[in-house]
Amino acid sequence: MYKEICAKYAPNKDNLIYILHDIQDTHPQHYVSSEAVHEISEYLTLPENHIYGVLTFYSMYSTTPRGKNIIRLCESPPCYIKGSYNILRKLKTLLGVGVGETTKDGNFTLELCACLGVCGNAPVMMINDDVYGDLSEEKVEDIIDKIRGRN
Amino acid sequence: MKTLADLKKIREKAQEDMKLRGGNVRIKIVVGMGTSGIAMGAREVMKTFLEEIAARNLSDVLVTQTGEKGLSSMEPVVDLIEEGKPKVTYGNMNPDKVKKVVVEHIVNGRVVSDYAVATGD
């Protein structure tokens, strides 16, 4: 599988970030495994340590398996001022996990992230590619329920 | 596209498509669309205006709508607003009268006094 993804890109070093994104997005557990790193290393003829260097530098990549849905709650000051800590508390109780952890059913991973740039509607979170704004505790419950229902 | 003239052509066409959002409007037609206006056929009147204007390619005429105008006995009522001229109000409109207003008033600039019920504010 990893070979096919690599083959979509020219074997140049500047495609590394894209290959990593693609591999992570395609993997059902949203992470880059050591086998993947090995394949990329061969394909781009780059040492594995370079790939790990890049992989661990950027906060969006994960080297450990994650859930089906990645929740990224913004922890920046504008969201903090508007009460993101209450949202975090709510998410933790709703999901029964801490930050950086995945629910037992493998459905959700809870993460914090830097500014999502939707500060006018703080507090904000992103689930996969969708942004949810003006969050309240009730709204969060609603959103999580809906996603649970979808699966 | 190779020249500024090509760009200008595209721009003019695109501006025409965006004229509802302001721009180069010579005459504004305001159709009264209150309950009684609609009951008396204001929607037909507005549709006819839109059709006639599109058919004649009158790019500087804008059709819009407003609520009850308080002239129930003369519905459907239409205002023609032209910059620098007094507003003309037409009453008891129907599609045939619309066609005449478009030709006479909008194209040739002659107020159709037979249908006009008021001028000025």
Partner: protein, 619 residues
Amino acid sequence: MSLKHIDLLICCGSGCISAGALKIKERFHEVLKKHHATNEVNIIETGCMGPCDFGPVMVIYPEGIFYKHVTPDDVEEIVSEHFIKGRPVTRLMLQEEEKTFAVKQDVPFYQKQIKVALENCGYINPESLDEYIATGGYEALGTVLTQKTPQDVVDEMKASGLRGRGGGGFPTYIKWQMVHDNKADQKYIICNADEGDPGAFMDRSLLEGDPHRILEGMMIGAYAMGASEGFFYIRAEYPLAIKRIKMAIAQAKDMGLMGENIFDSGFSFDAEVRTGAGAFVCGEETALIHSIEGERGNPTPKPPYPALQGLWGKPTVVNNVETFGNIPTIFRKGAKWFSSMGTEKSPGTKVFALTGDIKNTGLVEVPMGTTLRELIFDVGGGMIGDHKFKAVQLGGPSGGCLTVEHLDTGVDYESLKERGSMMGSGGVIVMNEEKCMVNVAKFFMDFCVEESCGKCSPCRIGLKQMLAILDRITSGYGREGDIEELQRLGESISKLSLCGLGQTAPNPVLSTIRYFRDEYEAHIRDRSCSTKVCKDLMHFQIDKDKCIGCSLCARNCPAHCITGSREEKYLIHQVECIKCGNCFDVCPVKAIDKVPGIHPDTVAHRAELSKAVNHYEDL
């Protein structure tokens, strides 16, 4: 034949989408179909209209009616009343102090604004090249390519006085001139869209709302300096912006506005999109260049400046999104027109993102030199509720805070710098009297520690030390001399760090010390947080006179530290209290108060503990 007589512009910026704009759009399609009116209304998705707090918002032309806080349930009424009967729905209009603002231009939020970069944002369909052209798009590029030499373009930029909108305020023309003068076989131009400043979202809105404008600005720059290839470096957190700019590139290529021999001028240009992967430091130009090359986004020392040795060692200009956004208008309306706005040293307008405890959060564009008071109270509508204005943080984690005494300061690069703040990318975080400035400074420091790339030690180690000191101050263990230590560390980190991140990271701490020193002192000497934000420096107390003895607090206390009875009322045992605030939230008669300072019981307990520790150490 077109029967369309209404343009319905629905704001589909990320803010309004997060508030449900797409559902509303779907609903409009359904309801219009039901009323057989699909062919009468153009439904247009636009970029950000600005007032995110009112979202979802929409404007209906030809009247220009402005609706806010629209829900899917309102759609039926809008269609049947406004569209079919011509009676706008008053209850969805902005109503303030018993006045109703029907038309967009009358809404106070828009009154003091002058839109240059944001001109089309929220007015055109960002996915339509035709609509961009209708507003005069690509005219500047056409004129430049057919009538001006590259040096003319640089000169015009110089005359306009445009300064980089990304933060530093470096005159744009200097970068262009350097690369223009540099003879090389290959040059690159990069659009920096790695907007990461918490509280800033103008770059996202511009890319989402008017992508062709940014592309046109980039191409004019590329022509001036002789670059044939461009890159948009967009952070991966902005999927919609990435999609829109990719679409714009494809459309421009299709139309022949990009590619080989544009406007028959011999100038050829191609651009592609690169994305980040979550690293704030990549907003720094050398780090950004490394990231495009497929490396860790570590900054490198300057010189060599990217203008001499940038991407893949070639001369490169990195300009911010908003900078590019100003360029087409400068060339269409002239440098003179542009420099007639704003102040002498900071000409033009600036986009600000208003956030925090302010009524109208959102995106605004005002001339440079507009005072903070106008920005916060006139455009922003003032504070939410009855709260008082306390401070404003400008420039995100790199900037500094300003206070009430600065409200009449005109906002431009120099005047902000003089007062210990900075323009940054234009984030304006407004705070009310309930905010603890020490805590806010700690929060920003925490952000910078997290985002430090770790390459140079002043930033990596120094910031961590500053955070540790702030941590102990806010948890009640501050020491005499901590303030001076913070200042000493801050100043050395500013001087010694390699890149902008470290150089500016101490600013929030230094500026809060400068203007709110008494708060730091109260935290350290009195062990008290007057705003009751720092949990360790406040306590909860039950007012016996108000308590009705219902026991709700005791039953909700996870630490089991509230005891009492209906007769004796309830009491919090301070030493065990973990300050979760549950009791405060559940009390039906609001008998629980937050009190600044550490409770005497806790102080005594701590003294006892340290005695025990000392005793052991003596043994």
